[in-house]
């Protein structure tokens, strides 16, 4: 079974709309990381969350970590074509090991 589950697996939204991607861990996290990947390229770091209830924002992207440190959400406000890509959540459970979910493929339609 997958220890880190992302939902949805794919998402198509109209430009300008808001959207949310979820990431659920089977166990308590030491750290939760959000990355973005363009097709065929490496991963770009977006944000890191470590404390229960923590929330961070960068431009139009906001990420939250729940109080129990087992669930995170990534919210994009007023989506733009530049937001298209694959969003990956990564988890640290200990021993500095970084494990990823299966990814959410985001498509923005004009």
């Amino acid at each position: 079974s997958q220890e880190l589950e992302q939902s949805p697996q794919s998402l198509i939204v109209q430009e300008g709309k808001n959207l949310t991607i979820n990431c659920t861990s089977s166990k308590t996290l030491y750290g939760l990381y959000w990355y973005k990947q363009k097709y065929g390229e490496g991963l770009i770091f977006l944000m890191m969350l470590q404390k229960g209830g923590e929330e961070k924002s960068h431009e139009k992207i906001t990420a939250k970590l729940d109080e129990k440190k087992q669930q995170s959400s990534l919210h994009i406000t007023a989506s733009q074509p530049s937001h298209a890509g694959i969003y990956l959540c990564g988890a640290e459970w200990g021993a500095q090991k970084l494990v990823f979910g299966q990814g959410t493929r985001l498509t923005i339609n004009p």
Binding site: Y33, I44, F45, L88, G90, E92, Q96, G101
Partner: protein
């Protein structure tokens, strides 16, 4: 600051051949990761180094895959012999701590 360098970017080989990938991490980063990303899936951790020691290689298929990190800097990942199911993008990443691991562009391997 120079990023994580990987080479080659693309490689096509026939099954049962051997292949090697090279990674040069960001200077000063003690932790180095190799991931395998099959199309449509998230990256799967193959091996993690701390300096030149292996921290985790539980998901490395050791009958055909090997990796080393000489002098705690550059690393190579080798597949010998390759199978069709090894077709994937191989990503190298490095970090000072786990926080904000930096990724290279990856090597896309096609086994035919």
């Amino acid at each position: 600051e120079a990023g994580v360098a990987q080479s080659p970017r693309y490689k096509i080989i026939e099954k049962r051949q051997s292949v090697a990938f090279w990674c040069n991490p960001i200077s000063g980063h003690a932790t180095l990761y190799w991931y395998q990303q099959i199309l449509g899936q998230g990256p799967k951790l193959l091996i993690q180094f701390q300096n030149n020691g292996v921290v985790d290689d539980s998901q490395l298929p050791k009958d055909r895959f090997s990796a080393e990190r000489l002098k705690g800097v550059d690393s190579t990942l080798k597949i010998q012999p390759a199978k069709l199911e090894d077709s994937a993008v191989y990503l190298c990443a490095s970090s000072y701590r786990v926080t904000e691991a930096f990724f290279g562009q990856g090597t896309r391997l096609t086994v035919v």
